[in-house]
């Protein structure tokens, strides 16, 4: 936590007294520290919130920061117009306003997103702009205030800068390590709002002699403080309600990991997993997806002993794999340890995958699956399940390119199969058939099939093998809910309105898949 107003840091180390900025006005210098901390905090909060709610984190984060910096520039320009005589009073006003707006920013955004939906982006950027302008005014005003109080300019600049930096540093470390995980975004924002308001109030008190309207200011300050304290008390309830509104159901688990935001919701018997706001599964129909992902391939491999699952830390694919008694070893490679921990150690969640991740046949590796595969050794796999995120940008598109499939093929045991989740052949037909073309370009024989998963729509998969001759299985393990020999056979049928369009394979250097995927889905979104 940044130091509070009473514990003034020792500022007398080097310069001679009198010329040393801050000697007579330590309060203002402390204000710089707090102001800098808060300024950065609001920016980080808005950025983090936007990427959790909207996804596409890098782009979102960078546009937020860009807007914020721009607004700060505007603010510092506007600060010129603040009347020299009312400098301190205006500064205090700004502190109170920043405190109020910044402090309530996260709560407000959560609520808007959950209940208002569409104007979210506009509100987000408007709020970021507004806070940015106000924050941008702060430092120039402090500089002028100190200047008014006859501080030597050079010493002043360096002092202010030092504390500006220190404040930024403190928050950039504390935000991801302490605040966000401990308090959550909404309460973190309120805490910083309280700091801003606190500075406003404290300055009102300290300089009450100079301030003609000290009482009015104080009153305003106390009001803001009261609102923020109320918000602090209610923030959690508010965001819970908002997240529930957002996801429709009540949130039973939320966690921010270095990789993603994990949210689990439950309503009656329906549990849903969202990663960065994107639905991963609903227990109502996940069996359709996971049965379709695993059985058409694995039931056709009576000799299968070793199965590799890439992605899918929820363990649901592994659950299906374990239905084959002849399978001796399953290796699950999932990036996020929090995911595998959650689905192994939390009883009600582990129940969803039938405690698959605790099965002695299963080994869990927390690593980047692509990197892991590059260096993996040992005998080949009879089945490789590639359950990667959709190819929505260039980095993910590479997981669906020719070299990746060649690499997987090298890790296959003789007669082994690969199965790839490959987006929707209905919504994104060119993307789906591009994955097929890519597997064939990698020298593999493919068998395209699809299943209806109500939460996602018609969903596509591809089985690929080094040798031709794959036949859909005629017998399946007992206890499946969606698949039997007849539905499996039907999955391989594509009606005339779903025939393969002409597409190019996905190459690392052209990334056609990402283009197809983007274009196909944006056509759906109209």
């Amino acid at each position: 936590m940044p130091p509070q107003s009473r514990s003034t840091p020792d500022l007398h180390d080097s310069a001679t007294p009198g010329t040393d900025a801050g000697t007579h006005h330590p309060g203002l210098i402390v204000a710089v520290f707090v102001v800098a901390s808060c300024g950065l905090a609001y920016e980080l909060i808005a950025g983090a919130l936007a990427s959790y709610l909207l996804g596409e984190s890098v782009l979102r984060f960078s546009t937020i920061i860009g807007t914020y910096l721009f607004a700060m520039g505007v603010g510092s320009h506007l600060s010129k117009y603040v009347d020299e005589k009312a400098l301190l009073a205006r500064f205090i006003d700004i502190e109170l306003m920043v405190g109020l707006l910044g402090g309530l920013s996260a709560c407000a955004l959560f609520l808007i997103y959950a209940w208002a939906g569409s104007p979210f982006r506009v509100s987000l950027y408007a709020l970021v702009l507004l806070i940015g302008v106000l924050v941008g005014m702060e430092i120039p005003l402090v500089m002028r205030l100190l200047h008014q109080r006859k501080q030597a300019f050079e010493a002043l600049v360096s002092r202010v800068l030092t504390f500006d930096y220190l404040g930024a540093l403190a928050v950039s470390l504390l935000f991801p390590l302490v605040f966000a995980p401990l308090l959550g975004l909404a309460r973190t924002a309120v805490v910083f709002g309280l700091l801003n308001a606190g500075i406003g109030l404290w300055l009102t008190h300290r300089y009450r002699a100079e301030l003609p309207q000290a009482r009015a200011l104080k009153l305003r300050g106390l009001l803001v403080l009261a609102v923020l304290l109320a918000a602090l008390a209610w923030a959690q309830k508010l965001t819970d309600a908002a997240e529930a509104g957002l996801y429709g159901d009540s949130v039973v688990h939320r966690e921010t990991t270095p990789f993603q935001r994990i949210v689990l919701t439950r309503w009656q018997d329906d549990t849903r997993l969202y990663l960065n706001g994107n639905l991963q599964f609903s227990t109502r129909d996940e069996h359709r997806y996971h049965e379709a992902l695993v059985h058409p391939a694995l039931a056709a491999l009576p000799q299968a002993r070793r199965v590799l699952v890439l992605g899918g830390g929820d363990g649901l694919a592994v659950r299906e794999v374990l239905k084959y008694p002849q399978v001796e070893r399953v290796t699950l490679v999932e990036l996020d340890p929090a995911m595998t921990r959650l689905f192994r150690d939390t009883d009600d969640l582990a129940a969803l995958n039938a405690h698959a991740l605790r099965d002695p046949r299963v080994t869990t590796v927390n690593a980047d699956a692509a990197q892991w595969l590059e260096t993996a050794e040992g005998p080949g796999w009879d089945l490789i399940v590639a359950d990667f995120p959709d190819p929505s940008h260039y980095a993910l598109g590479k997981l669906y390119a020719v070299p990746m499939y060649r690499l997987m093929a090298r890790h296959l045991a003789p007669g082994g199969l690969i199965v790839v989740q490959s987006t929707s052949p209905w919504y994104a037909p060119r993307a789906y058939w591009c994955v097929d073309a890519t597997l064939r370009e990698a020298g593999l024989h493919t068998a395209p099939y699809h299943a209806s998963v109500p939460s996602f729509g018609d969903w596509g998969f591809l089985i690929a093998a080094r040798e031709a001759g794959y036949r859909p299985p005629s017998a399946l393990p007992a206890g499946l809910r969606h698949l039997d020999a007849r539905t499996v056979a039907q999955m391989f049928d594509f009606p005339p309105d779903m025939r393969a369009p002409a597409v190019e394979p996905n190459r690392l250097n052209t990334q056609m898949l990402v283009h197809y995927f983007e274009e196909d889905w944006s056509r759906q979104m109209r």
Partner: protein, 524 residues
């Protein structure tokens, strides 16, 4: 923007010592000056310990840059097994690579454009290394897509936003100037001389000798651009960047012939990539030098040559080994694959033929490998690309070493390689490099990143490896086509020379061509 200006004005580096006191720690800085000590010792003719041994070989290759390694590869391919390679002070030379925090990155050259059919040796070499995967003799062969640059390839910071590509086209005026320039270059690219050869080709020696074209070598590129009306400032920023990036000098110090050559010499195509595509590897072109070493499987001596003398049927080379012994190398033939300013001190035939003043000026370069424990926050606009250039910036931008990797998530750490060249007068720039403190060098290296990111990116910086190349490359100044160094090509005797310096353009294809040529001459 007051608050940001403070930050930029005082330099975010001013805060580094401050940050050092807290966490994160200041980056660990290493400064490398490859070849500096050995080169200066040669210049000052420092005394040597007496020879402690003698080695025999058929061919001694002195220098293991692209030229030396290509020669070694060609000799091996033709069945010569009696070759000894003397690495010199920097194995792989300007194409060397590095490893920072487990991440491979370049220390110099980092990309190679698609070679056109005339560059037979480059294509053969790429085929041997498994980079060219089919259609060796086709107009458009197939290349390993792992090596072809993945999107997004390039972006430019102009104003406050990143734009895709290098050539600025965001306003109508920019686009018009760019289109006119491109059309002009396309016309020059198609142009042939009176002798029927292309005006500009690689290897340089395949370019037309037509005097009207060669006359371009008598003026500066800046002058030529003025006269041709290519004066739109954003376009000029781009051209200025291109010249500094490839020749280490600004258009006013570069021959118009060389300037046009840069834009018009490349016509390579690929079956599986767009025209104009380039190839790169995380470790830069050291992927190719490493490949050449592997394929050539040549015996290597770690040390550098200090003198050579031609006997009646042999050449004696004095080599100072890495463990400070002096060894006499007795070879039938020698390929001298070191820069000319070094070769002058070693090959007595050169001392007179090539007075110091006859050598072209060389451009100093600074290559900075920066290990980051995460990706900095980006400003609005185009996403992080492989090559990231600040339009009108002080440096030459930065490339991302992890760009070509396939990963489910962004790697936890990466290396950005920032380049600087072509600042001020070459001699002064070199002196500055020699005298600047570590902190000054670091600040200098980070200029473009400081322009691209808000100061907090420094919190991500863990290590910095600064590679100082005082004589990075010969500058193709006006008149370079007739430089006396060209006489060396046909020095005759038992000693052959091979280095990019011989042609005067520092490019992989050129360096490699001189190695190829020396090997061919030697094979007869």
């Amino acid at each position: 923007m007051k608050r940001r200006d403070f930050i930029a004005g005082t330099g975010a580096l001013a805060a580094l010592p401050w940050l050092a006191g807290c966490t994160p720690a200041a980056p660990l800085v290493t400064v490398l000056r490859p070849g500096l000590r050995e080169g200066h010792a040669l210049r000052e003719a420092a005394a040597l310990p007496p020879p402690s041994g003698e080695l025999r070989c058929g061919v001694a290759i002195l220098g293991s840059g692209v030229a030396g390694l290509t020669a070694a590869w060609r000799l091996a391919r033709e069945g010569r097994r009696d070759v000894l390679l003397v690495d010199g002070p920097e194995p792989d030379g300007n194409a060397a690579g590095s490893m920072l925090g487990g991440i491979a990155c370049p220390r110099g050259a980092h990309y190679l454009p698609l070679p056109d059919p005339g560059l037979v040796h480059v294509r053969e070499l790429l085929a041997d290394l498994g980079v060219l995967t089919g259609g060796l003799r086709d107009d458009a062969p197939e290349y390993d897509e792992q090596a072809l640059v993945h999107p997004a390839a390039e972006r430019t910071l102009a104003g406050n936003t990143w734009h895709e590509g290098l050539l600025p086209t965001s306003t109508a005026a920019d686009a018009a100037a760019a289109a006119r320039f491109n059309a002009d270059m396309a016309a020059w690219s198609a142009r042939r001389g009176g002798d029927g050869r292309p005006a500009f080709a690689l290897p340089l020696a395949a370019s037309s000798g037509d005097p009207t074209l060669r006359a371009l070598d008598r003026q500066t590129f800046a002058r030529w651009l003025e006269e041709a009306g290519h004066t739109h400032p954003p376009l000029r920023h781009y051209i200025d960047y291109a010249m500094r990036d490839d020749y280490g000098a600004r258009p006013d110090a570069v021959s118009a012939w060389a300037g046009l050559h840069y834009f018009c010499c490349r016509r390579g195509r690929a079956r599986n990539a767009e025209a104009g595509a380039v190839m790169t590897w995380p470790q830069g072109l050291s992927a190719l030098t490493a490949g050449l070493r592997r394929v050539a499987a040549v015996r290597t001596l770690s040390g550098h040559a200090v003198a050579l003398s031609e006997r009646r049927s042999t050449v004696e080379v004095m080599v100072q080994t890495a463990d400070h012994r002096t060894v006499t190398l007795v070879a039938d033939r020698v390929i001298c694959a070191m820069p000319l300013h070094v070769a002058r001190h070693i090959d007595p035939a050169l001392a007179d033929a090539l007075p110091r003043t006859a050598l072209p000026e060389t451009a100093p370069w600074l290559v900075a490998n920066l290990l980051l424990d995460g990706f900095p926050h980006e400003r609005p606009g185009a996403d992080l690309a492989w090559d990231n250039v600040v339009l009108g910036g002080q440096g030459l931008g930065y490339v991302v070493a992890t760009h070509q990797l396939t990963r489910v998530a962004r790697p936890a750490a990466t290396v950005f390689t920032a380049y600087r060249a072509g600042w001020g007068d070459a001699g002064e720039a070199r002196r500055w490099l020699a005298s600047a403190s570590e902190a000054e060098l670091l600040e200098f290296a980070l200029a473009d990143l400081d322009a691209a990111y808000d100061h907090r990116w420094h919190n991500r910086l863990r290590r910095a490896e600064l590679v100082l190349r005082g004589h990075g490359m010969a500058i193709p100044a006006p008149g370079f086509l007739d430089a006396p160094a060209r006489a060396l090509r046909d020095r005759g005797g038992r000693v052959l020379h091979a280095h990019a310096d011989l042609g005067g353009l520092s490019l992989f294809e050129e360096a490699s061509w001189w190695g190829e040529r020396a090997a061919r001459q030697l094979l007869g």
